[in-house]
Each structure stands twice: as structure tokens, then as C-alpha cells.
């Protein structure tokens, strides 16, 4: 993988701030955008900035074609069977909310999550419990922070209607044994919803092979535009979903007291959609395909190993979450003993334009349960280099002397 060639595709990496280049280690929050994505979006605004579907003129047809092509691209990107299994959303959060609120779960039925869920998966479960009396159960991790399959199996009972869990954690980049979890859940008759926000951008995900019922992910973490996301719904599961957001473009017709919904996915895409975003998202998927997500994953693994070894060699640094770098994908969360995580992050930014995330990364529940204030999170992607990781380690060595 030619990282230098890849970096040339990202205009922002040409920027210098205070005479220094940018070192961007916050891709778990927001990935940078290649020219190809920006140009694809610009093309929509330049050449055919019209409505899709609802109008029948030439520009509208062009938008509709581009949209269907985008849906087809995403279908292949995640290994779905049918393009109608792809619903465009605003982000992972919307996809997760859509499934959790559209499944007609009843009081006393159980939703199972892990103890490392992003608020976007955790809070909808809280709301289900509050509004409908659904029982929300949490499967605790093992002491080494990996997934506890035994605990999961014993938590699975006939009452568990939905298993909703994170595919790859945004805390430490740990990828759960998804295939085994799905099989076990299906054996119990439970549906499985995957939070793929940190997985899809970094792994070659094939929903068909995994057998997942639902998979939600975001465009902005996979080089795509902000405000874009995808919800994959296995075709046979559509009948289990009752739309919770309805309106324009979701019905064939309506009268004063009745309506007829369109077939999926349109019935779940209410209101005017983010056409430029969807086109940009497809361009991002094509870009990642052209590089190869396996190669990206391998590159990230090498950098994560380098970062792990470098940080571990400094006294006073604690790696948060799963310790083995080979299990951690592209994310390294750490804390500096005796220093606040925000102080470390700001000094990295101030001194060397190293951009990391600090805080509790929307997994407050995990930090709260362990009485940890937060962490500094360095998350990598295909455009990061060994030299950049080296600079981070050197800067941390300087910062730690402030203690």
C-alpha cells in the first residue's frame, strides 16, 4: 500500500498550521475526505442538483440513477444480497434508533447489549425500557476486557428478542467475535443488530456471510461526507419493522384517513434525502475498495503495534481496554498517570498539531463503571504513517516530563 500516494488524495493533509503539518489521529471520530469524494459531491451540486424520484424531468432522472448506483455500490461494499436491503440514513445513531424503535418489542421482552456500547446504542435501549417496559440486560466483559462468550450464552434466554452490540469498539478498537455471537443469538431465536461504525471503515465486512440481521454504520468515518449513514436490513426482516419516521417519499398514496407505504427501503427514508451525501458515500466506498480494506487493516495493525510498543516503553502510560495490540485494530486509548487527558490532548495539538480525542468517547458507562476519568484516544487510518506515530511517541515523552 503506497501511503504517500494515498496522502496526496487528501487535500487537508497539505495544510500546515503554524508552519507544521497536521498529524491526524482522530479518524474514529471523523475520517478525512479524499478528493474523489469531494468531487463526486460537487458533481451533484454542479450538474444535477435536483430531487430524485418525485419529479420526472431529466435532472431528476439523473439524480435517481446516481442514487440507485450509490445504493448498489454500498450493497456490494457490505456484501448484501439485494440493493433494497440498504437504507440511507444520517449516521449510525439513526440506523440503530430506527431498528430499536421499529421492532415491535413488548414489555418484558429482553434486549441484550455488551458493557462497551456507544451511547447511540445504549440510550435507545434505556428509552425502550422507560417507554415500553422492555428489559435491558448488559453482558460484562472478561477481566482482560475481551468479550465473555460464556456470560453471553448464559444471558441468552427465550425472552431475548434483540442482541444489539458493537462490532468494533470505539474505546480500544477491539473487534468482538461477531460471527460466533450472531450464530449463538440466532440459535436462541434472537435478532442481531450490529453497530458497525468502527468496523465497516476498517474491515472487509460481509453481512451475508456473517448472517447479521441489521448493520448500521456511518459515512463520515469511512472517508464519506458528514450526515450520511447506512442501515443494512436483511430482506426477510423488513416485515418485523414498523416505520417510526414517516412522511414524504415513504408512501404510494395517502388519503385523509389512510395511506399505503412504499416497499422498503423507501418506506424507511422519510423526507428529502441527502443525495449529494449518498453519492459521496458511494465514492468513498469505491475509494476504499480500490485500496482494499484488508490492506488498510494490515497497515493500521502495523502502526497500532508501533504505537503500543512506543507508548508501553514510556513509564507512566496506561493503555486502556484490551491490551494486545493485535486485537485492537486502529485505536489506542491511553492515560498518562498524574495528568488530565484533556491537558495531554491539548498539548499534543499545541506543540505538534497532533490531533487526538480526549474524554470518554461517548462510552461514559464503561468509564463510569471503572471509575476512570477518561482517556486520550489515538485512532489511525489509511493515510497515517510510521513517522507520524513516531512524532506522537516523542511528544508524549516530552509531555510526561511535566508531571
Amino acid at each position: 500500500m503506497d501511503v504517500e500516494k494515498i496522502r496526496k488524495d487528501f487535500p487537508v493533509l497539505e495544510r500546515e498550521i503554524n508552519g507544521k503539518p497536521i498529524i491526524y489521529f482522530d479518524s474514529a471520530c471523523m475520517a478525512l475526505k479524499p478528493r474523489q469524494v469531494i468531487e463526486a459531491m460537487n458533481q451533484y451540486y454542479h450538474d444535477f442538483p435536483a430531487c430524485a424520484g418525485r419529479s420526472i424531468h431529466k435532472l431528476s432522472s439523473q439524480v435517481e440513477d446516481a442514487r440507485q448506483k450509490a445504493r448498489e455500490t454500498i450493497k456490494k461494499f457490505v456484501g448484501a444480497k439485494y440493493s433494497e436491503e440498504i437504507i440511507f440514513t444520517r449516521n449510525t445513531t439513526e440506523g440503530l434508533n430506527l431498528v430499536i424503535n421499529s421492532l415491535t418489542l413488548k414489555s418484558g421482552e429482553i434486549v441484550l447489549t455488551t458493557d462497551r456500547e456507544h451511547n447511540s446504542n445504549l440510550l435507545p435501549c434505556h428509552m425502550l425500557a422507560e417507554k415500553k417496559g422492555v428489559i435491558h440486560k448488559v453482558v460484562r466483559s472478561k477481566l482482560d476486557h475481551t468479550f465473555d462468550m460464556d456470560a453471553f450464552k448464559s444471558a441468552l434466554t427465550g425472552g431475548v428478542k434483540l442482541v444489539s452490540f458493537v462490532y468494533t469498539s470505539n474505546l480500544d478498537g477491539y473487534t468482538l467475535p461477531v460471527k460466533e455471537i450472531i450464530k449463538t443469538a440466532h440459535d436462541n431465536g434472537s435478532l442481531v443488530l450490529l453497530d458497525g461504525a468502527q468496523a465497516v471503515p476498517h474491515h472487509a465486512v460481509n453481512v451475508n456471510k456473517l448472517g447479521a440481521d441489521f448493520l448500521a454504520f456511518s459515512g463520515h468515518k469511512m472517508l464519506g461526507p458528514t450526515g450520511t449513514g447506512v442501515l443494512y436490513v436483511k430482506k426477510e426482516n423488513y416485515e418485523k419493522l414498523k416505520p417510526f419516521m414517516v412522511g414524504g417519499e415513504t408512501v404510494e398514496w395517502s388519503s385523509y384517513d389512510s395511506h399505503k407505504f412504499l416497499e422498503p427501503p423507501e418506506r424507511f427514508e422519510a423526507g428529502l434525502q441527502n443525495y449529494a451525501g449518498e453519492i459521496g458515500l458511494a465514492a468513498a466506498a469505491e475509494y476504499l475498495n480500490s485500496v482494499g480494506r484488508d490492506r488498510i487493516g494490515k497497515h493500521e495493525q502495523e502502526l497500532t503495534k508501533q504505537m503500543h510498543e512506543g507508548l508501553s516503553s514510556i513509564g507512566g502510560i496506561k493503555i486502556i481496554g484490551v491490551q494486545k495490540p493485535e486485537l485492537r485494530g486502529s485505536i489506542t486509548s491511553f492515560s498518562v498517570n498524574g495528568m488530565k487527558h484533556h491537558d495531554v490532548a491539548m498539548l499534543l495539538d499545541q506543540n505538534s498539531n497532533i490531533m487526538v480525542r480526549s474524554g470518554q468517547h461517548c462510552i461514559h458507562s464503561w468509564f463510569k463503571a471503572r471509575s476512570i476519568d477518561g482517556s486520550v484516544r489515538a485512532s489511525l487510518y489509511l493515510y497515517n504513517t510510521k513517522e507520524e506515530v513516531g512524532v506522537l511517541i516523542q511528544e508524549i515523552k516530552k509531555i510526561i516530563k511535566l508531571r
Partner: protein
């Protein structure tokens, strides 16, 4: 939190002149508003300021950077307290300047010269030409070139509302009463007697209109009361100068304290 308060005031002033600081001032305001309502600072403004300072120090002096990092909160408190004390003094000085025409109406001294350097011509009189005066006892000025002829004229110029005039008036009246046979005494309340022919004398000695103004024999004068030296000392100073301009007509002029003061004039 602490640094936000000081930063808010500084940045609010700076943002009047430059849009660049408005965003920061807004952040500082948000930070202060949230902290005083017991909520965490949303923008991390205080942390940003700390990182900016410590980051710069790291490049120059690691020891200093470490000290600043560790004691930032304490340093912020010291800075903030010093800042606000200075601010109060400056505002007070400015208010005095507007109301009385001097930053310190009590002594007539500038705020930067609180002790009153006796060898220095006091700042309210700087540029007061053609009179060339030097400081003498009790904050009085001595126009060295002036010669007293005939019965010395003694003036008290004040206003009914001025608190320093109120302090000075009874003391001045009490002392001048002792010399009533040897001086020509006039007390003019400027706010009531704007048409007095003696206003021209006032304008001559206090061209900027500062009060209270005490003129003894046309040679010695002072703008401001004697509050800083205290009532007892003020009485002695006034007695000594009046003795000097009237050739020691009363017995009190012979007392050792007054004699010593007269010799210092």
C-alpha cells in the same frame, strides 16, 4: 475557572478593538457563566489557555513549564487577584480624574507616586506656568519667587458637596481664626459663589478647577485636603505656615514643634 474570569475581562476589552478576540471572549464568558452556575466549562477554555502557555514554555524552559503545569490553578488565582486589585485602583483613579481632575484628590499626588516625593513638583501642578513651585511641608507648594506684601491674604476654595473640603474646612477655619487679626481671610464655596471676584484667584492657582484649594499669602498653596497626614499634623502645618507669613504673631509660633516645622518650610 479562575483564569476564565480574568481572561473574560481582558478579552472583552480587546474584542472591542479586534474581532479576533471576540470568539475567545465569548468562550470565556460561556465558561464563567457555566462555572458560576456549577456546570462544567463546555469549551474547555481554561484548558486551552493552560495548554497554550505550557506548550510555549516547554520550548523555552522545561522546568518552568513543569512548574506552570503543576501550579496553574494557584498562579491563576494570584494573577486574577492582582488583576482585579489593579483594575479597581485604575477605575478609582480614573473616576477621580474625571471628578476631581486628579487621580488622587486627597494628596494631589498621582497614584504612581503615593508617598509624595518631597523633591518633586507634584503632578497636578506639572506644566503650571509661569508659577514655578516646589513642594514644602504638608503637601503645600511654595512659589519661591512670590513675595508677601501687606496683610497676607488667606483663601479657602471648596464646594459644599466635596467630602475632602468638608474634612478640611473646620480645621482650616479653626487655625485661621487664631490669626484673624493678622490676615485677610476669605472662604469661597465655588458652587454657591460662582460670581465671586475671587474666582480669578482660584483659576490662577487651580487652572484645572481642582478642590479644595488652600492659598496662604499667595506664596503657599495646596490642592487637596490634609487627610493623609491627619488632623493633628494638618493643624500644625497650617499653624507653621501662617506663623511664617505673619512673622510669628502668636505664642504658639514659638513652640518647639511649630518652630521646627517653620524651619522646614
Amino acid at each position: 475557572m479562575v483564569i476564565c474570569i480574568a481572561a473574560l475581562v481582558v478579552l472583552a476589552v480587546l474584542s472591542i478593538f479586534s474581532a479576533k478576540y471576540r470568539k475567545w471572549a465569548k468562550e470565556a464568558f460561556d465558561c464563567v457563566a457555566r462555572r458560576v452556575t456549577l456546570r462544567p466549562c463546555r469549551t474547555g477554555f481554561d484548558e486551552k489557555v493552560k495548554a497554550k502557555i505550557v506548550g510555549k514554555l516547554m520550548k523555552k524552559n522545561m522546568g518552568l513549564a513543569r512548574f506552570t503545569h503543576k501550579h496553574f490553578e494557584t498562579m491563576s488565582w494570584i494573577f486574577t487577584i492582582v488583576f482585579f486589585v489593579s483594575l479597581v485602583l485604575v477605575i478609582n483613579g480614573f473616576a477621580n480624574l474625571v471628578i476631581y481632575g486628579t487621580c488622587d484628590p486627597i494628596t494631589g499626588n498621582c497614584i504612581f507616586n503615593p508617598g509624595g516625593d518631597p523633591n518633586r513638583v507634584l503632578c497636578p501642578f506639572e506644566g503650571l506656568e509661569p508659577q514655578v513651585s516646589v513642594a514644602t511641608i504638608g503637601g503645600f507648594m511654595d512659589i519661591e519667587s512670590a513675595i508677601i506684601e501687606g496683610t497676607p491674604k488667606v483663601y479657602f476654595f471648596g464646594t459644599t458637596w466635596c467630602p475632602h473640603c468638608r474634612w478640611e474646612r473646620p480645621i482650616f477655619m479653626e487655625i485661621t481664626e487664631k490669626f484673624k487679626d493678622y490676615i485677610e481671610f476669605k472662604k469661597i464655596e465655588i458652587d454657591l459663589e460662582q460670581d465671586s471676584p475671587d474666582i480669578s484667584v482660584f483659576n490662577h492657582y487651580s487652572p484645572e478647577g481642582r478642590i479644595p484649594l488652600l492659598i496662604l499669602g499667595g506664596k503657599y498653596f495646596r490642592i487637596g485636603s490634609g487627610e493623609t497626614i491627619g488632623e493633628e499634623m494638618e493643624k500644625q502645618v497650617l499653624t507653621a505656615i501662617l506663623c511664617k507669613i505673619t512673622d510669628n504673631p502668636i505664642a504658639e509660633c514659638k513652640s518647639p514643634e511649630i518652630t521646627e516645622l517653620i524651619n522646614s518650610i
